[in-house]
Amino acid sequence: MTSLDTSLPRARNATAPVAPEAVPLRQRLKAQGYDGITLLALPAAGFLVLLFVYPFLYGLFLSFKPKAGGLLANYARFFSDPFLYETIGKTLWLAVPVTLLNAVLAVPVALRVRDIRYQRVLTTILVVPITLGTVLVAQGLLNYLGPQGWFNRVLMTAGIISSPVKLIHNYWGVFLSLLITGFPFAFLLTLSYVSGIDRNLERSAATLGAGGWERFRRILLPLILPGLAITFCLSFVQAFAVFPSAVLLGSPAGPTRVISIAAYQAAFEEYDYAMASAIAMVMGAVQLLVVGLVLGARGFLYRGSTAGGKG
């Protein structure tokens, strides 16, 4: 990176002290790291400014220009209409428990799986639901969890229940769909964190007489927690934005009327783009708040090397 950065001294060689303005612009830029190669980042950056930053700012601007009323009318309407503001609570009530469950389940599974021989087979199987996506999982679960589906049949044959449990078109349908796509996601992220922890740390602890639970609590957990916080955030934003399964597997007019549904209906059923943008902004703010809280708490955790050795 530094091999070509000799431009400044060479420019000053000619005559002794030169005012900085005398150095050509091109070389001054180069000294700051801007040259032909840096320009290669421009098309991608420009594209994102045009199609990500601009729409976002435009949406923010639009949300303050409601169809009727003053500057804050859209937000006022959102927070005064229970049909709208209740979507925040409903979405959190789905997203937080399922994300916690996914993250908590991912840790023991990742720890158990990290050194088995056929790890690749299991990770391949678990990447399938993520690849298939939420729409297919919704259709699959409609078949599988339905009153005549295999899941209820097995439970009834085993004598655990006497009549089919209602698992679709309600809260649990959406919950289970978030579990089936969210758990593999959390697991794969956790696995990559866990694989980075030096085994010698645990071996030393074991040599010093720490049992399994103590090794986990005192050695592994402090090392995993920062990664787990990131996993939680990434899983949470996905669960919070749940859309297709909330419509197809849930009861989109009742307990699973999540915030994405409210935003979608405002945009494409009422054609009120200003209101839809306002809801999207509220959605972004809630996500940011939760992620900020988790990352803030993460600041108190140990964040150092996961490698063993002297130090």
């Binding site: 729409p55 799986v113 599988y144 934003v237």
Partner: protein, 280 residues
């Protein structure tokens, strides 16, 4: 692995395995029930269908115009892969090789579209695309899908390029290679494995990405996953077996590419590793 033979350790291990097996069995049973249903003549209130048939595939193909839908899907995916490579790889090269003012800000710009879920930025994006007239067309679908895929390519490629020794490029220049020869004979062969992996990941993700396409697609620019959503949404209009046949066609399309991709990449790469991973 530390050998722990105490009873609690064994019980715990067994419990973890039981959960893994339970999860995988349910996953396969869910997929299996879709496949079974797609071949069923009639399936009501029994373990297995009354009879087997393949006619639902023909009727799904005709009812949902899957010929056109698949053409659109492949066109969109091909264009998304092409352009995310063309935009993402040079940007990744610049970020890997140069340190400049504002680099952190640029990294943040590339990180945000991956952290913010598509439906949040998709609604303002769709608004802009509708106003500029791109929405409802193939171009709109491609543009919307590029928003998360370009940063994805950048973030996958930066660590890959960083581990290639810049001295190789310097040596080629010393021996008199000009920019185009340096690119063709030195950089491209070195970067190709990384580019291939990144673009395969983009391909697999783009076939399955639903929200962005759903928000901007018109009737003639639906991809397979959006068509599947509308079919499930309007369940009751068509036979459930027909929808399941379409779901199987969708699964096969996605999984073929997943199998190909997994020959070159690790499954964990599909979920996109957080940047911090590289810092350790």
């Amino acid at each position: 692995m530390i050998k722990d033979t105490s009873l609690t350790a064994r019980l715990w291990s067994a419990a973890v395995w039981a959960f893994i097996v339970f999860f995988v069995v349910n996953l396969f049973a869910m997929i299996g029930s879709v496949v079974t249903s797609s071949f069923a003549t009639r399936w009501l209130g029994t373990w297995l269908p009354a009879g087997w048939t393949t006619r639902w595939y023909g009727s799904a193909w005709a009812e949902f115009q899957l010929g056109e839908v698949l053409t659109v899907t492949f066109q969109a995916v091909f264009l998304v892969v092409l352009f995310s490579g063309l935009l993402g790889v040079p940007a990744a090269y610049a970020l890997a090789r140069r340190d400049f003012k504002g680099k952190r800000l640029l990294m943040l710009l590339f990180l945000l579209p991956l952290l913010i879920p598509p439906i949040t930025f998709g609604i303002p994006l769709a608004t802009v695309l509708y106003q500029t007239g791109f929405a409802g067309s193939l171009a709109g679908v491609v543009l919307a899908n590029l928003v998360p895929t370009v940063p994805f390519v950048v973030l996958v490629m930066v660590p890959f390029i960083e581990q290639i020794d810049p001295k190789i490029e310097a040596a080629a220049q010393v021996f008199g290679a000009n920019t185009s020869r340096l690119f063709l004979h030195v950089l491209l062969p070195l970067l190709l494995p990384g580019i291939l992996a990144a673009l395969l990941l983009v391909l697999v993700r783009t076939i399955a990405i639903f929200e962005l396409t759903f928000l901007v697609a018109g009737p003639t620019s639906q991809t397979l996953v959006v068509a599947l959503y509308y079919a499930v949404f309007a369940a009751g209009v068509r036979a459930v077996q027909s929808i399941d046949a379409m779901a199987v066609i969708y699964m096969v399309t996605t999984l073929i590419w997943l199998v190909i991709a997994l020959r070159f990449v690790n499954p964990t790469q599909l979920v996109g590793r957080p940047r911090e991973q590289a810092a350790h």
